[in-house]
Amino acid sequence: MIENAQLSRGGRMKRLQLHSRGEFWVAYIVLGAFGLVTLFPLFIMVAVSLIPSKGLAAALFDLWPKHARLANYLSMWHYLPIAHFLLNSIIIALGSTLLALLVGIPAGFALSRTKVFGRRIWLFVFLATQMFSPAMIIVSAYHVMSLLHLTDTYFGLILLDSGFYCLPFVVWIIAGFMRQIPQELEEAVDIDGASSWRKLWTIFTPISAPVIAVAGVYAFISSWNDFAFALTLATSQSLMPLPIGVYSFIGEYNIQWNYLMGASLVASIPVLVLFLVLQRRLTAGIMAGTLK
C-alpha cells in the first residue's frame, strides 16, 4: 500500500524521499482538472434548475440566473409527475433487487457449495449475459414480454431488470463469497444432520449478509439506472421510472429545462448517496465477486 509514508514530524522528509515532487504536481493537476470538469455539469444543473419559468429562454444564456428561484423545487412537482415517476423507480428497482436476491442466493449457493450438474457452464452463462447490451436484448425480449402480456406492466419491467441487470451480478458475488466459507463450518452442521436447505438459510446466508447487502445495493442501482428496457416497455407515463419520465418531456416544444434539471437532480441523489456511503464496500464487493 502506498499510503502515507510519513510519521508525525520526520514525515515530510520521508515523503519527499519516497515520491518525487513531480509526481505530486501531476497528481494535483490531473485530479484537479477532473474535479473541475466534474463540478461543471453539476453547477449547470443547479443553476438551470433555479431559473424562473418566466423568461426561461433568455435566462438560459446566463451561467447563473439573475433571479434564482428556489421555489422551482416545489412547483416542478406539478409540472411533471415527479412523485409518481419516483415511486415507479422505487417499485421497479426494489422489486428487481428482491427477486434477484430471492433467486440468486440459492443459485449462488448451488454454484459454490454443491457439485451441481454443469456448474462451470452455468457460471459462464451468468457471466456472459452481463456482456450483452440491454438495447439489443430488448429487441427480442420485447417479443417475449408481449407473448406473456407483460408489456407496460411493473412485473414485466421487474422481470427484465432483475434477470438482466441484477441476477448475474448477484449470483457471481454470492458464489464467490460462499466458496470461501471454510469447509469445517459446514461439516460441523453436517453432524447435526441439517438439510442443505437449512444450511443455506441458517448458516450460509447470515454469514454472507454483508456481501449480500452489497450485491443488493448494486442490483438496486443497476435497475435504477436502466434506460433501454423502460424506454421500450413503459409506453404509458404511469409506468415510467424517473429518468425515463424526465426524458419523455424533452420532446416538448417548450422544454422546461429548469424543472427537468430539478427532477434530474432528484433522480441522481439516491444513487449518489448510496455510492458515497458505500464507496469502499462497493469496490471491495466487486473485487471479491470477480477478480482480485
Binding site: 519516497l18 485530479l31 430471492l102 454454484l111 417479443h143 453436517d190 434539471m261 469496490t283 477478480l291
Partner: protein
Amino acid sequence: MVAVLVRWGVRGVKRRQGRIITRHVGILYLLPAIILIGLTVGYPIVHIVEMAFGNVNTFGTIMGSNGFQNFSGLWESGFPVVIRNTVIWTLGILIPTVLLSLTMAYSLSLPIRLQPFFRTISIVPWAIPLTIVAIWGSMAFNALYGQVDTVLLDLHLISHRIGWLAYGKTSLPVMILIGIWVSVPFTTLTLLGGIQAIPRDVIEASSIDGARGFSRFSRIVLPLITNSVQLVVLINLAYIFNSFPIIWVMTEGGPAYASATVTTFVYQLAFTDGQFGYAGAAALLAFIVLIGVALGYVALYRKTEGGLL
C-alpha cells in the same frame, strides 16, 4: 412454492441416499435462476438468431426463412458507417479512459492533500444515472443556448455558437468525451484497488534503488497491476460497445447514421424502422464479438483467481 418443492425434494432424496443429496438437489436451487435468465436473456437470444435468418415483417412476426439476405441487406443500409463509428466510439473512449484512469489511480494512491475530496469527486460521474447525464448533454450542447458554448464564447475559444449535435463529425467527439467522463470512475477505482494491493516494501525498495516518478510508475507499478489493467480493458470494452443512453438521448444516432453505433443501430432498425430482420442480423454479429470478450474475461479470471470457473 419453489421453496416448498425444494424442501420436499431434499427430504425425499435424503432419506434414500444419505449424504450425496446436494449433488442432485443443487439443480433445484439453481432452477429458479435458470428460468429467470432463460426468460429474459436465453430465449431472447434464440429469438434474435431466428430473426437474423428469418423473413420478419414490420410487426416483428417471423414469416419463414430468409437465408443470409438480412446480412447482405445490412451492408446496403448504412452498416459500414455504423461499424466505423463503433470502432471510433469504442477505442475513442477506451484508450483515453484507461490512460487517464491509470494516472488518476496512481495519483490517488499518493499521500496527497484533500485525498477524500479527490476520491469522492472521482466517483461522482459514475453515480449519476447515464440517462440524466445524456439529458444534461443534450441541453449543454444545444445549438441555440448550450452552456458549453456560452463558456467557450466567454473564454474567447470560439467566435460563434457551434451546433455540436447536428453533425456526426462534431457530435461523436462530444459524446465520446462524455463517455470518457462516465467511464473513468469505475476504471480508476478498480486500478486503485490494484495499486493498493502492491506490498509497501516493493515501493520502498524501488525508491532505494533510485526508481522515482514516471520510471517507477512504468517499471514497477504498471507490471504489478497488469491483471487489473486487463480486467478494466475487457469490462470497459463490453460496456462502451454496448452503451446506449448517451447516443440515443443526444442524437438518436443521427443525422442518418452519422453518429450511430451498432447498439443504437440495432435499436433504431427494430423500433424506429421496423426492420426486425436486419436488427436481428446486426445483433447476432455483435453477440459473436461480445462472446469473444466474455471468453477473454474467463481466461483472465482463470489466470488470476480461478476459484469458481
